[in-house]
Subunit: 348 residues, 4 copies
Amino acid sequence: MTTTTRPIELRSDNSAGTAPEIIDAVVAANTGSTLAYGGDDWSARLRARAAEVFEHPDLTVFPVLTGTAANALSLSALCPPWGAVLCHETAHIIRNECGATSLFGGGAVMRGLPGAHYRLDDASLQLAFGSTNWGDPHHSQPAALSLTNPTDFGTVYSPQQVADLAAIARSRGMRVHIDGARIANAIAAIGCTPAEMTWRAGVDVVSLGATKNGAMTTDAIVCFDPAIAEQLTYRVKRAGQVASKMRFQSAQLDAYLTDGLWLRLAHQANTAMARLAAGLADLGVGFIEYPEANIAYLHIDDARADLLEDANLLFYRIAPGVIRFVTSFATTLAEVDDVLERVHAVLA
Amino acid sequence: MTTTTRPIELRSDNSAGTAPEIIDAVVAANTGSTLAYGGDDWSARLRARAAEVFEHPDLTVFPVLTGTAANALSLSALCPPWGAVLCHETAHIIRNECGATSLFGGGAVMRGLPGAHYRLDDASLQLAFGSTNWGDPHHSQPAALSLTNPTDFGTVYSPQQVADLAAIARSRGMRVHIDGARIANAIAAIGCTPAEMTWRAGVDVVSLGATKNGAMTTDAIVCFDPAIAEQLTYRVKRAGQVASKMRFQSAQLDAYLTDGLWLRLAHQANTAMARLAAGLADLGVGFIEYPEANIAYLHIDDARADLLEDANLLFYRIAPGVIRFVTSFATTLAEVDDVLERVHAVLA
Amino acid sequence: MTTTTRPIELRSDNSAGTAPEIIDAVVAANTGSTLAYGGDDWSARLRARAAEVFEHPDLTVFPVLTGTAANALSLSALCPPWGAVLCHETAHIIRNECGATSLFGGGAVMRGLPGAHYRLDDASLQLAFGSTNWGDPHHSQPAALSLTNPTDFGTVYSPQQVADLAAIARSRGMRVHIDGARIANAIAAIGCTPAEMTWRAGVDVVSLGATKNGAMTTDAIVCFDPAIAEQLTYRVKRAGQVASKMRFQSAQLDAYLTDGLWLRLAHQANTAMARLAAGLADLGVGFIEYPEANIAYLHIDDARADLLEDANLLFYRIAPGVIRFVTSFATTLAEVDDVLERVHAVLA
Amino acid sequence: MTTTTRPIELRSDNSAGTAPEIIDAVVAANTGSTLAYGGDDWSARLRARAAEVFEHPDLTVFPVLTGTAANALSLSALCPPWGAVLCHETAHIIRNECGATSLFGGGAVMRGLPGAHYRLDDASLQLAFGSTNWGDPHHSQPAALSLTNPTDFGTVYSPQQVADLAAIARSRGMRVHIDGARIANAIAAIGCTPAEMTWRAGVDVVSLGATKNGAMTTDAIVCFDPAIAEQLTYRVKRAGQVASKMRFQSAQLDAYLTDGLWLRLAHQANTAMARLAAGLADLGVGFIEYPEANIAYLHIDDARADLLEDANLLFYRIAPGVIRFVTSFATTLAEVDDVLERVHAVLA
């Protein structure tokens, strides 16, 4: 193994570039002048497309720059400043967004809950509810439930699991959000419809993470509740998340949702991971959770991790003995086989 | 005059598309995988380029989505939550950003001050200072000065004017920000260097408004003070303004600053407005302020404004008897002449 | 005139001590143990008393420490974070509370409006409404109207004036707040009922300023809308404004509202000012506004102001040529006559 | 046992009334007029007294209404908006203040850490530090350490324990706060000086919880760092926590700190609890933690808890099988013996 092997990217799906269909759409949108701030044809087309794809005529789409913005702004509209957002204790919103939810939420707090397989479950919510003094102003009141799907550890909630949790939350007057940084991977993995995974399961707002799945400079909030959308109109603007040349974001998102591109891109990433995981398992590698989408955490001792780095695999070392592999829409099956060969050589 | 004439865009410079050099740079950046969140070569190149263009080795550039984000985040780092941002009473930050500065500033307030020609001047600041109980916690303490250059009404501050105001502000311990949504137009109009207009004049942070001048999906904060930049690193992230695929913003900004493209684009817009304004003056049209950059507010009665709309000119009606024309990098001199002909026909 | 004359207090009504009935109530409340945080008998009694005094069975009273807390928390419940609070440009909330409303309002802004006699009027609101782009997320939306009654300059709104302004505000969906730091002085001056001045005139929430009128360590929010009160329950707690030994605040407020004490105390202050103003007018002193309650701003040149200070009158110098006299429940008519003698000596 | 027995208060130390010395001081302060907002003699005396008691000439005292205000405002000055406050997972600030720290902290978050005996220890901090990506803007940066002393579960940190934790925190640039809602009980229990427990141990700011220990309507922030105090001057005002008639708070606090009253009152509460705990232990009652100050959580089954309520003991039921007893300065040793008799009767 020499350093002349070609590096293979497994650090993150956001290390990949832009899908060709999406960059083409951006270039095509550069024609003529138009109204700023979403008053353009591309944004109108996006709204119609999203309504069709999600089978929900009244939804609103807000293109924003990042998943952090999508999450924090969505939650700020679902949770009052004195409320608590319930999420898994490993959720991106609580671990990786530097308090964005508390900033936009006016001091709202996040409560991280335990849950097997990095998913919240009935027991997680009962634990939280049991330790809540409902109606007591000394206690932050649970007001929004945020589910990350797939989780940051690569497990997936089924529509039924989402629906069950949403029902429990709604029984206490809470609203429901999905951090969908990789929602396309979850939908593609399950094979359900976008509607089944979201509003039909009781979800109010989804962070539609396009960037990690082939888009360029945009994510989006998809809101199924017109009253919440009315709030978001203002919240998104004052957060500096309304681009004047929005057409260049809307064109990306419109291409993303057209003809199932988003699900095809996600399927590619999932398929690459499925083949990779199967091969790694054959090589005896252990997983924190066997991957259900495009992320895997592997038990690899540090000496061997060094050797994998020497073999020009690009990945993150999470903790002693644990590394992370992420595939993307740009990961080819040939690359997967190449990875497996290099891992095999290292483990041998 | 029939409705078959081609529409001519004068609503705003952000109605224009993207400059060819910039869209080419975006396409060229779509190659291979790279580290996310600014750990890419394009972002490194941008930092070096900006340091060279501004002649300031220690500056930091933060690509953000919008001018509102650039302004509000910059000011949040310059003004404590109990402070006041002083600005002209017509400033964009106080009129058009839905309180973004107070959101990111943790409740900091804005104080709009009068000033001739839509510029702050010595008298504006003395007025504010005279009515301030310095050190009295009942009063929001002036802590940051924000100058919009060019102003929203098309007048320009010279580097000397900026320096004079900054010196007054600094004498009271205040920090200085430029809302540079159109800073390239001001620099091109004056013919000074970027350094002269900014840090050499005592400015700490600039909102570098690229979008209005040919960029696509990015603006940027340029920070000349490393301690403020350290703060901004966190503030920008938790505002959801750190794109994972930052290379596609950095590529835009790098192209923008390369070989003086930004000043050429601004010069085009300014030249178009200069020719337009001269022609309008010849036709007897009056101006709120004679344009020094690429924006003009015209005295046109409402009946004639209707006719100008019929003549397929695209512009905003600001108030009874007042309309606004804005030129952009995409406005051609032929279009200007066409506009003048149509105005002539209407006024005749 | 020697410096051995007794000083006479005209600086502010909050320079006075506590009314005897109120300090007696505090001492009497120090008996036995009780539930904290308002679960005590004094707080229950206060609620019943306030409901009776304001003739509104569903009101809620929140004892808080200060007028600033009462104002900012009230407004935070009436105005969303992206909204604007409309008030007179000289209002205490915009001039003297260090941005408290923007802090508790999550970045909500205040818009100061002109208005004759330091009161807002129909023209003030029409001006604000005319320059608002309703429904445009670039513009902070007027959402709450805050009236200071009496104004900080000693003029008073009649119930009819309050009702007229509230009706205009409500026609645009706005909610209405009274900064009643001296509301008792206004009610006593007009001779109306508390209900007429507040909820019958369309007011949602009142800051009931007890401290300036004889209380010791408490002000209060009086809320006429149960849905707003539900919000305030949490907002007041997380602001650290729910005292554990609330009985000692409730006892003050209960005594204050019992048998018209609050109106008697205010009447004393008003009567003292009426006699003082009449006497000053006889002496040829000019007023910024002839006082309608217990505050007066006088035209006194600076040399004479020096002499008044030498004569051991305690008052504030507001600007060159302008001083302020405020009377309180503790100002005696003998003191008023003494003040007039000293002024006469100085002016002679 | 009949219901005619006199109720005995064990719910909370804030159920007690005011200590006689303190109510006398309030009454005595009601003399004459004075400057508002702390410009009075009582506030000056308090500053001198606190400087002497804490042996720190440069400290600043800010009287505020509640412990929640003291905690949240202190922490807002020690932790930037993008920072994290580290505290025990059972801390009052994270469990019982409805997010006040995140509100005043501008979105700062709290991270609850485990720790034996409800105290943080070296391992707690190493766990937090180990899972922190220092300098990575995706992660809230630990910036302030908040220790509750005594803890909400009745255990106490020694000055050495505080100093050790503070040193670890300071080694990472963090600042240190003590939630001293019952700090007098901790100091009295240990027998150290106030200085040893606070600034000599590396503490920047203390919430001086007077209310729970005999004061009436005031707590206070004691700040040992002049730069932090400068910030607090504004933060406290805009939070509506600067009473205009501050003398009535300062008089309470001055009496509280005079001639060791605060430590005597705390000693009474501690002594009552010590006798109570010893007696309960003799009766075979188990403790969650054996009380080191004036709080005890007891293992009492629910049927017996019902009987204790029937016996007219006033206490809180925390969870199935767990009740809480709190003694206060007002708890007499005779009452303790009476409690023990009633418990004995119930357990027999």
